[in-house]
Point group: C2
Chain length 151, copies 2
């Protein structure tokens, strides 16, 4: 696992409100299928529904019955360059004391990903997504989705 | 507010266990005053006590009586280049619909910082910390604290 982070995703209750907040602070993002992507330096910053994000991490969506600390509302992602690398990282995470909460598989978007939580329950997605270019230094470039929403 | 993130801090229940997990994945960090700092690309990745992190964000520490979702266990930081910039960002956050949870002041370490939460309660620290060099592109370089723990 290279020492870097690819995406930070905030689970939000109201996507339009959340986007409006960051746009009001000067950020400019692109909304694609109920997700807002921002380029943040070499990092992608993402807003997505809190329930969907929890499920994508292999966790129960939060709700009135959710235990405190069960899902913190933020997930980190570490993108890799092959399916084999994703498998190896999930295995390494389990071996290091984490828990695989979603075994790696081709997801509905068509790329290979899985998820684990660290010992404190912080979720990480592990993905091989050729659509999100990784530079040699590991920084990610969010693609232009052609929405016309970029400055 | 520039479109970037400076630090990601994970609140953890057991610092040694959390550090051992990331070290087992190949990360190398430096522990200083019950905090572990990792360089993650142009980003700092930090492990710190969950209760201390909550208090530093101006939030109640989580506990048996904590409401679900009150504190998600992760904070983001946006470092700036002057005290005035920190004040301006906190004001902008409030104006955009966030809530200042800790007004800006010189903290116990000696630098100027404050905190706000976004509309979903995700905490951001806003800091002017000359000890953490910001590059022209906004990337941060975690200083070498001289612990001898770097590779």
């Amino acid at each position: 696992m290279e020492q870097r982070i690819t995406l930070i995703t905030l689970g939000v209750a109201d996507l339009a409100r959340a986007r409006a907040f960051y746009e009001a602070l000067g950020w400019r993002g692109q909304e694609v299928e109920d997700t807002v992507f921002f380029q943040a330096g070499g990092l992608g910053f993402v807003l997505w529904g809190r329930d969907e994000l929890a499920v994508d991490c292999g966790l129960e969506p939060p709700g009135p019955a959710a235990e405190p600390g069960r899902f913190g509302g933020i997930a980190l992602a570490h993108n890799v360059r092959s399916d084999a690398e994703a498998d190896a990282l999930l295995a390494a995470a389990e071996e290091a004391g984490g828990t695989v909460t979603r075994p790696a598989a081709v997801n509905s978007i068509g790329f290979y990903s899985g998820a684990f939580v660290d010992p404190d329950g912080h979720p990480w997605e592990v993905a091989h997504n050729p659509g999100f270019a990784l530079a040699a230094d590991g920084s990610v470039t969010i693609p232009d989705f052609g929405t016309g929403q970029l400055p």
